[in-house]
C-alpha cells in the first residue's frame, strides 16, 4: 500500500512540477504583461502543490527523501508525469489549450481527493483546490476569447486543440495503483472523472465556437516512466544546479 501511495503521489507531484517548470518558461515572454504574470503565478501555485506532494511522497519512500531530492536527483525514466505536461510550450494558443485540458481535469481530481481517507492527501487537495478554481477559470476564459475572437485566433486555438488532443487521454488512465488506492478510499479513478471533464469541455467549446476533435488513438507512457524526448531537456535545465553542485543550498 505504501509503495502504491508513493507512486501515486509521484504521479500527481510530477505532473504539477513539470507543468510548473514549463509555464515558468513564459516568464518575460508572455503575449501581454497580464498574461506573463498570470502564467507565472499559475506556475508558482503548481510548484508549491508539487512541493507538498513530493514532500509527502518522500516521507513514504523506503529511504526517506526530501521534495528537493525527488525533484532534482531523479532521472527521466523515474518521473511519472503524463506526457502532456512535458510538451514544449509552442505558441500561446498551444499553452492555453494544454492549460485548459489539464486544469479542467486537475480541478475535478482535487475536488474528489478532498474526501480522501488519507489525512495528508486530503489537506493538500483542499488547499490546492482553491487555487485550481482560478487556474481553470483563467484557461477557460482564454479558450472562449480566442475561439470566439478573430478568424486568426479561432484557427490558432482550434489547431492547437487538434494537435494536443492525442495527449489528453493519458490523464484518464488507471492501473493497479489507482484501483488499489480507490478501493481503500484514498484516491479515485481517473477514468471516473472523464464524463464530467467532457461536459466541461463541450460546454466551453460550444461557447467558444470550437469543435471537439474526433475519437482517436491516445498517446500513453509517461505515467510508467516512458517519456517523450522533451522531458530530458527540461530536466537538464531544471536540475543543472544540483547536478553541477550536489547538495548545494540556496
Amino acid at each position: 500500500m505504501q509503495d502504491s501511495l508513493y507512486k501515486y503521489l509521484l504521479r500527481l507531484g510530477d505532473n504539477s512540477l513539470i507543468l510548473g517548470q514549463r509555464l515558468g518558461e513564459w516568464c518575460g515572454h508572455g503575449p501581454a504583461l497580464e498574461e506573463d504574470i498570470a502564467l507565472t503565478n499559475i506556475a508558482l501555485d503548481l510548484i508549491g502543490q508539487s512541493t507538498q506532494l513530493l514532500e509527502y511522497a518522500g516521507s513514504l519512500a523506503p529511504e526517506k527523501k526530501s521534495a528537493d531530492e525527488l525533484a532534482f536527483l531523479r532521472d527521466a525514466p523515474e518521473f511519472l508525469n503524463v506526457i502532456l505536461v512535458e510538451l514544449p510550450n509552442e505558441d500561446y494558443a498551444f499553452t492555453i489549450a494544454r492549460q485548459f485540458i489539464f486544469s479542467a481535469y486537475l480541478d475535478l481530481l482535487y475536488l474528489k481527493l478532498m474526501s480522501s481517507k488519507d489525512i495528508q492527501l486530503r489537506a493538500i487537495a483542499a488547499k490546492s483546490s482553491k487555487e485550481l478554481g482560478y487556474h481553470y477559470k483563467h484557461s477557460r476564459d482564454w479558450i472562449v476569447r480566442l475561439g470566439d475572437g478573430t478568424e486568426l485566433s479561432h484557427d490558432k486555438i482550434q489547431h492547437a486543440i487538434n494537435t494536443i488532443w492525442t495527449y489528453s487521454g493519458e490523464l484518464f488512465e488507471d492501473d493497479k495503483i489507482e484501483v488499489e488506492l480507490t478501493e481503500k478510499g484514498i484516491a479515485c479513478l481517473n477514468s471516473g472523472l472523464l464524463a464530467e471533464w467532457k461536459v466541461r469541455v463541450e460546454d466551453c467549446f460550444n461557447e467558444a465556437t470550437l469543435t471537439i476533435p474526433e475519437e482517436q488513438w491516445m498517446q500513453t507512457g509517461g505515467r510508467t516512466g516512458k517519456h517523450s524526448e522533451h522531458l530530458g531537456f527540461i530536466l537538464s535545465d531544471m536540475q543543472f544546479l544540483q547536478r553541477a553542485y550536489p547538495g548545494n543550498e540556496w
Binding site: 501555485d45 508549491g48 502543490q49 495528508q120 489537506a123 483542499a126 488547499k127 490546492s128 487555487e131 477559470k137
Partner: protein, 167 residues
C-alpha cells in the same frame, strides 16, 4: 526535567507575533493575515503553527524565519515553527483591522466571505476602488503582483489597483 513556567504568556507571544510583517504586504502583520494558527507553550518552550496562504507563496519561508528570529530574542529554551495545511487558509481569517490597513495602503481587501455562494457561480461582486471609493471598477486580470492578488482598475479615477482575492 522540572516543569518550569514559561517566561511569557500565550497572549504576550501573540503580541510579539503582531510585530512580524508579511514581507510582501508590510502593512499587515502575520497575525492580521491569519497565517498564525496556534501558539503552544510548555516548559518554557514555544511552538508556533503557521499555514501558507497559497501553496507556492514565496513569503512563507521568510515568515517562518522571521518568527523564529523574533522569538529567539526571548529567553525560551526552544522555539519551533511548524507548517500545517489543514484547514486550508482562507481570506475569511483576515482580521477586520487587517482589511482596513489594506484599504489605506491602496489594496482592495477581500469583498465577501468564501461561504458566499456567489463565488461558486463565478460571479464577482463589485470591488470598491481603494483610492476614490468608486464602485465603477473592472477586473483586468485574475492574477496580480503576488499569488494572493488580482489586478483591477477604476473606471472613474482611472487608477489600476490590486485586489486581494477571496479564497
Amino acid at each position: 526535567m522540572v516543569n518550569k513556567e514559561s517566561i511569557l504568556t500565550e497572549s504576550e507571544v501573540w503580541d510579539i507575533l503582531r510585530e512580524v510583517e508579511d514581507p510582501e504586504i508590510p502593512v499587515l502583520s502575520v497575525v492580521d493575515m491569519g497565517v498564525i494558527r496556534e501558539v503552544v507553550l510548555s516548559d518554557n518552550r514555544v511552538k508556533v503553527s503557521i499555514t501558507p496562504t497559497y501553496s507556492g507563496c514565496p513569503a512563507m519561508k521568510t515568515i517562518e524565519e522571521d518568527i523564529r528570529e523574533i522569538l529567539n530574542e526571548q529567553s525560551f529554551d526552544a522555539v519551533e515553527v511548524v507548517t500545517v495545511l489543514a484547514p486550508a487558509w482562507t481570506t475569511d481569517w483576515m482580521s477586520e483591522e487587517g482589511k482596513e490597513k489594506l484599504r489605506v495602503y491602496g489594496i482592495a481587501p477581500p469583498e465577501y466571505s468564501t461561504a458566499d455562494k456567489a463565488k461558486l457561480m463565478g460571479i464577482e461582486k463589485t470591488v470598491t476602488c481603494p483610492r476614490c471609493k468608486s464602485k465603477n471598477t473592472e477586473m483586468v486580470s485574475q492574477f496580480g503582483s503576488t499569488a494572493c492578488k488580482a489586478l483591477w482598475k477604476c473606471k472613474d479615477c482611472l487608477e489600476p489597483f490590486d485586489y486581494f482575492k477571496c479564497i
